[in-house]
């Protein structure tokens, strides 16, 4: 099987290992913008066609209809080294596309949830999703021009009912330095969580 070819440091026959970072958030929150800002390539689009029993949508009573949905995802790439490549996926935001995330989330390093303070509720589904699956995430509060008033990270944390350890950062998805800062915050946060989990596992193993 192919999975046996996955080798840690050297890759398979000189192939890099790839990892994913998800960029989530409501419609228009700046997902594709952020991906484009840090990606070394023009963001590309891939699509997945999924046949599924209609969940959430088309909820016609008693109708067990299968539907085919096409879900488009924008993604970009950051080549870290010859060994490691990071792919950034802008995840389709609407509730009804959440099932696509299960595959995206598989093996992801973590997620950035972009929030627009004018429509904070739009980021609830993303936050719920990552919390429930214990996927490390940070909140990037995308500060658009002309936003009537800026909110402090603490105000956003309270409004989103976030755990204290979830980083909340004000950012501008169009600005490279700002977008990088959000990425660094996420990877640092995910690394901390991974260290804690490893420590817990070894404690449990020796108990």
């Amino acid at each position: 099987m192919a999975s046996e070819t996955s080798d840690r440091r050297d890759g398979s026959a000189g192939m890099p290992r790839a990892t994913k970072i998800l960029v989530a958030g409501g419609f228009g929150a700046g997902k594709t913008t952020l991906v484009g800002t840090v990606s070394e390539i023009q963001p590309l689009q891939t699509e997945e066609r999924i046949t599924t029993a209609s969940i959430g949508i088309d909820n016609l009573e008693g109708v067990d209809e299968k539907t085919t949905t096409t879900v488009a995802m924008d993604f970009g790439r950051i080549t870290i080294s010859t060994d490691v490549v990071v792919y950034l996926f802008g995840t389709p935001g609407q509730d009804r596309f959440l099932f696509v995330w299960d595959e995206l989330a598989l093996g992801a390093l973590g997620a950035i949830v972009l929030a627009d303070t004018r429509r904070l509720a739009d980021s609830f589904p993303s936050i719920d999703y990552f919390e429930r699956r214990n996927i490390p995430f940070v909140i990037g509060v995308n500060c658009f021009d002309g936003t009537p008033r800026r909110h402090t990270p603490e105000e956003v944390r309270i409004a989103l009912d976030l755990a204290l350890d979830v980083p909340v950062i004000l950012c501008d998805a169009r600005d490279r330095a700002s977008a990088k800062a959000v990425l660094v915050s996420l990877v640092t946060h995910a690394q901390r969580i991974a260290r804690q989990q490893r420590a817990q596992r070894s404690a449990a193993a020796s108990a």
Binding site: M1, A2, S3, T5, S6, D7, R8, G11, S12, A13, G14, M15, P16, R17, A18, T19, K20, V38, L44, Q45, T46, E47, E48, R49, L60, V63, E65, T70, M73, F75, R77, I78, T79, I80, S81, D83, V84, V85, V86, Y87, F89, E103, L104, L106, G107, L109, R176, K180, L183, V184, V187, T188, A190, Q191, A194, R195, Q197, R198
Partner: protein, 128 residues
């Protein structure tokens, strides 16, 4: 619902049939791939491919082999060849079973990413 979604006598022709049929026509109607390919599985052509290797393969298989002279992710193949990921997976399965490609899959789910990976990624992002 009062009106049925599909008229049983309806015949799909021309453009009506196109988008529905085309991607899976390339795979002979198959939707299950031989092998598991993640969106970020890295694929590389395993060796120089001879004419005999591709005799009964389609142009899309050949396009994948050309693209994968350099390591390329499943998502990139889908974007560049303008085919849904599901279709790409089936085509990759064909190539894998003929040993024409190598695949480097990301870490399996339950494993925690190792600390070195975080360090390397952090370093890379800071140097962007």
């Amino acid at each position: 619902m009062d009106t049925p979604l599909h008229d049983p006598d309806e015949i799909w022709v021309d453009l009506d049939a196109g988008p529905v049929v085309r991607p899976y026509a390339m795979t002979g109607g198959r939707t299950q791939a031989n092998g598991r390919f993640d969106l970020v599985s890295m694929i590389m052509t395993s060796r120089s491919v001879s004419g005999a290797d591709v005799l009964d393969l389609g142009p899309e298989h050949e396009a994948i082999l050309r693209r994968c002279q350099q390591p390329t992710s499943v998502a990139e193949l889908s974007a560049h060849l303008n085919l849904p990921v599901g279709t790409i997976r089936v085509l990759l399965g064909d190539l894998l079973s003929r040993l024409l490609i190598l695949a480097n899959n990301p870490d399996p789910v339950p494993a925690l990413p190792d600390d070195d990976l975080f360090e390397e990624v952090l370093h890379g992002i800071r140097n962007l």
